[in-house]
């Protein structure tokens, strides 16, 4: 359904006039380039739920935006149902911030109804009923139609955002930290809504999150990213039972869990390096407890280590 082939995205800042003059005079200034996404390939099948996991700066949000056609990759290609995701219908994004993701000056009926009207999915005559149906579908009372976003709670706003996306009849949703800003009890409600919608509408999800617990609950397969690169892809069961990549292992070990009463944490060292100056070779090597000489020099390839299971680590070479 969605296929990413060797996708990269570089964000660069062009040098301004002063810097260009300085460089012409021999001052060494490089254009700062961030490899937000670096050679990522994977597929999402129809009806599948794929989790995309990583910490800040790993490029997961950029990748989500590439999948929705909001960001054009610098190289590589994205195919959504065989075509680039530029024209409608394309994957729709569910955003993290339930405050910033809704236009504060529009009523709910406009927020939800605008796009289907513009795209001619619904006529002016039917739009009222259509919006009501969308609101009911996400568990909101249609009588809220005339209200503005600030009159809703965080959880309700998240539902409005989902209704807005569903209104253009997408088959694929990219959820970017869609429940991260919500309280635990509200988070459960919204996660349940995602599960219900998938069952009812046959949706496919790319579920981006830093929360391994949420991803474990929802996803069938998980893609783990670190500093722009994919380090491991596995089915949820395999990944949580026996993580292969040392980073995945560290990530899973670092997560506080309810069933670990007063266990002393044994965290990995260091912090995520700046994406502006990622370490050589395997990006994880400075923090990796099992790093070797080779890891500093050579970028490990993402290879199949078992059927349907990929990992990018030199340790797998025996």
């Amino acid at each position: 359904m969605l296929e990413l082939i060797n996708v990269s995205k570089r964000f660069g800042k062009r040098l301004d006039a002063v810097e260009r003059v300085a460089r012409a005079l021999g001052v060494k200034i490089a254009e700062p380039i961030v490899h937000a996404v670096d050679g990522v390939s994977f597929k999402v099948g129809r009806g599948e739920v794929v989790g995309l996991v990583g910490e800040s700066g790993c490029g997961k949000s950029t990748l989500g935006r590439i999948a929705c056609g909001l960001v054009v990759p610098s190289s590589g290609s994205v195919l959504y149902q065989g075509k680039p995701p530029a024209a409608m219908p394309r994957p729709q994004m569910i955003f993290q911030d339930p405050f910033a993701s809704l236009n504060p000056r529009m009523r709910v009926e406009e927020i939800v109804g605008e796009a289907p009207l513009v795209h001619g999915l619904v006529s002016k005559m039917e739009i009222r009923n259509y919006v009501d149906e969308m609101l009911r579908q996400v568990g909101l009372d249609p009588s809220y139609r005339k209200r503005y976003p600030h009159q809703f709670s965080g959880g309700q706003r998240a539902r409005i955002g989902i209704a807005r996306a569903l209104a253009v009849k997408p088959e694929f949703l990219v959820c970017d930290e869609a429940v991260a800003a919500l309280d635990v009890s509200i988070q459960a409600q919204v996660l349940n809504l995602f599960l219900d919608l998938r069952e009812r509408l046959g949706l496919t999800y790319l579920f981006i999150s830093h929360d391994l617990g949420v991803v474990r609950h929802l996803a069938q397969r998980v893609v783990v990213m670190y500093l722009g690169r994919v380090v491991e892809i596995a089915t949820t069961a395999d990944l949580y039972a026996a993580p292969n990549h040392p980073y995945t292992q560290a990530l899973l070990a670092g997560v506080p869990r309810l069933d670990r009463q007063r266990r002393t944490y044994a965290p990995i060292k260091g912090e995520i390096p700046s994406p502006l100056a990622p370490p050589s070779g395997c990006h994880f090597h400075p923090r990796c407890p099992r790093a070797m000489e080779r890891c500093k020099r050579e970028v490990p390839a993402l290879r199949e280590i078992a059927p349907g299971r990929l990992s990018a680590c030199h340790l797998n070479d025996g």
Partner: protein, 277 residues
């Protein structure tokens, strides 16, 4: 609105502004005399002191000062508001578009704005008036040319903040067109700071117009604005006939003060940092 009125200074400003605007609108009905109708003027009544038959005295042509101020207010406000609205629309649209489109268009527009704001407004206006000639329409054009850059700059920075918000991304993701995103999503959310700048700019425009008129470059003397009235009285100021300049001056002061007080409060209220939780 409730919050607005809770500030006593701002409430006073608003009350003053309402009175000023009401006077300007109702001038033809509440003025004791039509100051433009030369037939009504009696040269014998020239330069009469305040009190008596003419509450605020008369000017050199025997015109009732109170009526002249009422009508002058009308002209001043008209020029200020009309030029403000046109400049806001033009500058606002260009600024928002620059923020959304970016690239060369933005760079070019913002350089033009920088250059324009580098020159003193009065100088630009003087040159334009010198080229265009006199008249209400000409002075409005001059004021728009002077002011649009302020709006463009404000609109751009407001729109840049809004553009980075997720709802704009969502609108793009929904496949909405560029024009629709700019007009329906970006512009309404960039508007509050523009309105704040607008109130202050209208006050500036009124002051600028008064200055131009005072210098004799503004409006024709058949439709005197407050600035022209002050200028007319200037020659009598030293001979002790203070009222011909003083009262229009006070009217100008009150008008600008009222607009600025309202503008200040609007700015405080629209600024989320200062907004009371």
């Amino acid at each position: 609105m409730k919050e607005f009125l809770s500030n006593r200074v701002a409430a006073t400003g608003l009350a003053m502004l309402v009175i000023v605007v009401a006077i300007a609108l109702l001038a033809p009905w509440i003025s004791p005399q039509n100051p433009y109708d030369l037939a009504k003027l009696d040269l014998m009544d020239a330069r009469m002191e305040p009190g008596g038959r003419y509450l605020l005295g008369t000017d050199g042509q025997g015109r009732d000062m109170l009526s002249a101020i009422f009508y002058g207010l009308r002209v001043s406000l008209l020029v200020g508001v009309v030029s403000g609205v046109i400049a806001l629309t033009l500058g606002g649209l260009l600024g928002v578009l620059a923020a959304y489109v970016g690239g060369r268009f933005e760079a070019l527009l913002m350089r033009v704005v920088d250059i324009q704001l580098g020159f003193p407004a009065i100088l630009v206006a003087l040159i334009l008036i010198a080229v265009l000639g006199k008249g209400v329409d000409k002075i409005i054009i001059a004021l728009v040319c002077v002011q649009w850059a302020y709006y463009a700059r404000t609109a751009r920075s407001a729109a840049l903040v809004e553009r980075s918000k997720e709802y704009i991304e969502a609108a793009r993701g929904l496949g909405l067109g560029r024009a629709r995103i700019v007009l329906r999503h970006l512009l309404p959310n960039a508007l509050p700071p523009l309105i704040v700048v607008g109130t202050v700019q209208v006050a500036h425009a009124i002051a600028l117009e008064a200055t131009l008129s005072f210098l004799g470059l503004g409006l024709p003397s058949t439709e005197p604005s407050l600035g022209l009235l002050i200028a007319n009285g200037y020659e009598y100021l030293l001979s002790g006939k203070y009222w011909i300049s003083l009262y229009p001056g006070l009217a100008l002061l009150v008008t600008i003060l009222a607009i600025n007080l309202v503008g200040d409060q609007l700015r405080d209220q629209f600024n989320p940092r200062l907004a009371r939780a």
